[in-house]
C-alpha cells in the first residue's frame, strides 16, 4: 500500500488533505510539527511527503526538507506554500529548496490527487531504473 506523509501545523489541513488522499486509497500518516514530521518519515518511510512551509516553527519546512536530503532520504516532496513565501520575500530566492513541487494553498482535491499521482509515477520510474 502506498503511504503518504503529511506534515503541516494546521490540524484542519492535515485532516482535509488526509481525507482526500484516503478516499483514493492511500495510507496517510500525519504530523503537526517538523519534529514529529521527521519521526513519522523515519518510521514509516513513506512513498511521498507533503510538507508545509510552516514558517512559524523554529525549524521550518525548508529546513526539514534539507534535513531529509542531507540524510539521503530521496522521497519526493510536495511543498505547500503560499504566495509571498514562494516568491522570495521571506528567504533568498537563490536558496536551494530540495523539493519536487511547490503547491499554493488552497489546492483543490483534484489538483492534489493529480500532483500526487504525477510524483508517484515519477518515483516509480526512478526506482525502476535503479
Amino acid at each position: 500500500m502506498i503511504t503518504i506523509a503529511i506534515i503541516d501545523d494546521d490540524p484542519d489541513i492535515l485532516d482535509a488533505s488526509g481525507l482526500v488522499l484516503m478516499s483514493k486509497g492511500y495510507k496517510v500518516v500525519t504530523a503537526a510539527n517538523p519534529e514529529d514530521g521527521y519521526k513519522i518519515v523515519k518510521e514509516n518511510s513513506p512513498d511521498l511527503i507533503i510538507l508545509d512551509v510552516m514558517m512559524n516553527e523554529p525549524d521550518d519546512g525548508f529546513f526539514l526538507a534539507q534535513k531529509f536530503r542531507r540524510e539521503k532520504i530521496t522521497t519526493p516532496i510536495i511543498m505547500y506554500t503560499s504566495i509571498s513565501k514562494a516568491s522570495g520575500l521571506d528567504y533568498g530566492v537563490n536558496e536551494l529548496i530540495p523539493v519536487d513541487e511547490f503547491v499554493e494553498k488552497p489546492i483543490s482535491p483534484e489538483q492534489l490527487i493529480e500532483k500526487v499521482e504525477k510524483l508517484l509515477k515519477k518515483k516509480e520510474a526512478r526506482d525502476a531504473r535503479i
Binding site: 494546521d10 489541513i13 488533505s17 481525507l19 530566492v93 488552497p106 483543490s108
Partner: protein, 458 residues
C-alpha cells in the same frame, strides 16, 4: 592628500555627482570666458577707443590663449577623474581649476591696471563659486591669498617697485598713486571678498543641511511604508490560513468524499465556495501588491515573452473551451529578442491581462494576442470582444481597488487590484501600458477592450 570634502557633505554619491557636474559646468563656462575676453580685447580697442601698449596686448593675448589651452587640457583630464578617497578626486580638480583661473585673473588684473581695472571684481565671483564647492577653510585661505597678492601688487606699483600697466583712455588721471583711492578701494574689496565667502559658504552649508533633512525624512517615510506593507502581509497571511482550511473542507464536502449531499445544501455550499474563492483571490492580490511595494529590486532574468504568454494561455485552456472563446496568438516580431526582467512578476502581469480578457469576453468571444517589435522595444497587444470599458472609466482603471462601472454587479468576481498590479509591474520594467475601448475586435453590443504594453529590449 587632503580629502577636501566638507563636513556637511554626508551623502557621498549625491555630493560627488554635484561636484562632477559643477566641474564640467565650470569648464564650459571657461570657454565662455575666453570668448568674452577676446570680445573685451577687440571691443575695447574698436568701440571704447582704449589703447593697449604692446606689452599689454601681447600679455592679454597670451593669457587668453593660455586659458583656452588649459581649459582644453582640463576637459581631457575631467574624463579620468574618479572619486577614490585619498586620491586626486573631483574636489582637487575643482581646486586646480580655481588656482589656474585665479592666477590667470591676477595676471589680467595686473596687465589692465591693478587697482584701476574694474576686472578685479571677478575675484568675488570666483569666491562665491568656490564656496559652493570647497570647504570653508580652503576657500578662506584662497581669499586670504588673493587679498595678499593683490595688496602686494598695488603697493609695489604705488612704490614704483614694478611697472604699472594702465589702460590709456579709461582714466583721465592715473589713480594707482593716489593713496586715498587705493586704500578705499582696497579695503572695500577685501571686505567684499571675505563677506561673500562667509555668506556663500554659510548658505551652501544651510542648503545642504536642509536637503539632508529632507532626504532623511524621505528615507523614514519609505521605511514606514515598508513596515506597513510587512504588517499587511503578516495580517493577510494570518487571515488566509483559516480561510484555506475552510476552503479545503468545502472542497471535501462538495466532492462527496464524506457522503451524499442534498441538492439544496450542495447549491449553498457551492455559493460558499465561490465566495471563499473570492476572498482568497483578494488576499492573493493584496499579497502581490505588498510584495511588489516591499521589494525594490526585481530579479533580472532573460525572459522570452512568447513563452510566458503561451504558458498562460495553456493554463486558460479549460476556460476557453468552456466558454467557446476563440483565442488567436500572432507573433509578428522581426527581432525576437529576450527582455530582461522578473519572470515571476511578468507572469503575474500577463496572466492578469489574459485572465481579464477571458473573464470579460463572454461566451463565443474573440481574443487576439499580438506581439510586434522594433529594435528597441517589444509591443504586446491584448484585444478582446468583451463588455469593454466605459469611456469615463478608462483613465481610472489602473488605480487600486477601482472596478469598472459596468461590472459592479455580482456577475464578475474581482478585487480591482489586478490592473494596478499590472501597471506597477510594467513600470518596474521601464515599460508602459495603455488601454483602449472599443477594441479592433468590437462586435455589435460588445465594444471590447485592448491593452497595449511596451517593454524595452534589454
Amino acid at each position: 592628500m587632503i580629502s577636501l570634502v566638507p563636513s556637511w557633505a554626508n551623502r557621498y554619491a549625491d555630493y560627488w555627482d554635484t561636484i562632477q557636474k559643477r566641474n564640467l559646468w565650470l569648464i564650459n563656462l571657461r570657454f565662455g570666458a575666453v570668448v568674452i575676453l577676446t570680445g573685451f580685447l577687440i571691443s575695447s580697442i574698436l568701440i571704447l577707443n582704449l589703447s593697449f601698449d604692446k606689452t599689454q596686448f601681447i600679455a592679454l593675448v597670451v593669457i587668453t590663449l593660455l586659458i583656452l589651452f588649459y581649459n582644453l587640457m582640463l576637459k581631457r583630464l575631467s574624463r579620468f577623474i574618479k572619486t577614490i578617497p585619498g586620491h586626486f578626486n573631483p574636489l582637487h580638480f575643482s581646486l586646480l581649476q580655481m588656482i589656474l583661473d585665479l592666477s590667470a585673473l591676477m595676471l589680467i588684473v595686473y596687465f589692465t591696471g591693478s587697482i584701476e581695472t574694474p576686472l578685479f571684481m571677478f575675484f568675488v565671483f570666483h569666491m562665491i563659486i568656490g564656496s559652493l564647492i570647497l570647504p570653508g577653510f580652503v576657500i578662506f585661505s584662497i581669499a586670504g591669498t588673493i587679498v595678499f597678492v593683490f595688496n602686494i601688487l598695488i603697493f609695489s606699483e604705488y612704490f614704483f617697485l614694478i611697472p604699472h600697466h594702465s589702460i590709456s583712455g579709461l582714466l583721465t588721471i592715473p589713480l594707482y598713486t593716489n593713496i586715498k583711492f587705493i586704500l578705499s578701494y582696497d579695503v572695500i574689496f577685501c571686505c567684499v571678498m571675505f563677506i561673500s565667502v562667509f555668506l556663500a559658504n554659510r548658505i551652501a552649508n544651510q542648503l545642504y543641511t536642509i536637503e539632508q533633512k529632507l532626504i532623511e525624512s524621505l528615507d523614514k517615510l519609505s521605511e514606514a511604508e515598508a513596515e506597513k506593507q510587512k504588517y499587511i502581509v503578516g495580517i493577510v497571511h494570518e487571515i488566509k490560513t483559516p480561510l484555506t482550511a475552510v476552503h479545503s473542507y468545502l472542497d471535501i464536502v462538495l466532492k462527496k468524499i464524506l457522503g451524499p449531499l442534498n441538492s439544496n445544501i450542495e447549491e449553498r455550499l457551492l455559493r460558499a465556495r465561490t465566495r471563499s474563492n473570492e476572498a482568497i483571490e483578494m488576499i492573493n492580490d493584496v499579497l502581490k501588491v505588498s510584495k511588489l511595494r516591499l521589494l525594490d529590486e526585481i530579479a533580472i532574468d532573460e525572459v522570452e515573452l512568447s513563452e510566458v504568454i503561451v504558458k498562460i494561455v495553456k493554463k486558460q485552456t479549460i476556460n476557453l473551451r468552456a466558454k467557446h472563446i476563440m483565442l488567436n496568438f500572432f507573433d509578428g516580431r522581426t527581432f525576437k529578442k529576450k527582455i530582461k526582467g522578473d519572470k515571476f512578476l511578468l507572469e503575474i502581469a500577463f496572466s492578469n491581462l489574459i485572465g481579464n480578457a477571458v473573464k470579460y469576453v463572454g461566451t463565443n468571444g474573440l481574443i487576439e494576442l499580438d506581439l510586434l517589435d522594433n529594435e528597441n522595444e517589444i509591443e504586446i497587444e491584448i484585444a478582446d470582444s468583451g463588455i469593454g470599458i466605459p469611456a469615463a472609466d478608462l483613465d481610472k482603471i489602473f488605480s487600486d481597488f477601482f472596478r469598472g462601472s459596468n461590472i459592479k454587479d455580482r456577475s464578475y468576481e474581482g478585487t480591482g487590484l489586478g490592473l494596478s498590479i499590472v501597471k506597477q509591474i510594467i513600470e518596474r520594467h521601464k515599460g508602459n501600458i495603455s488601454v483602449a475601448s472599443p477594441s479592433k475586435l468590437q462586435m455589435p453590443g460588445r465594444p471590447g477592450a485592448s491593452f497595449k504594453i511596451r517593454l524595452p529590449y534589454i
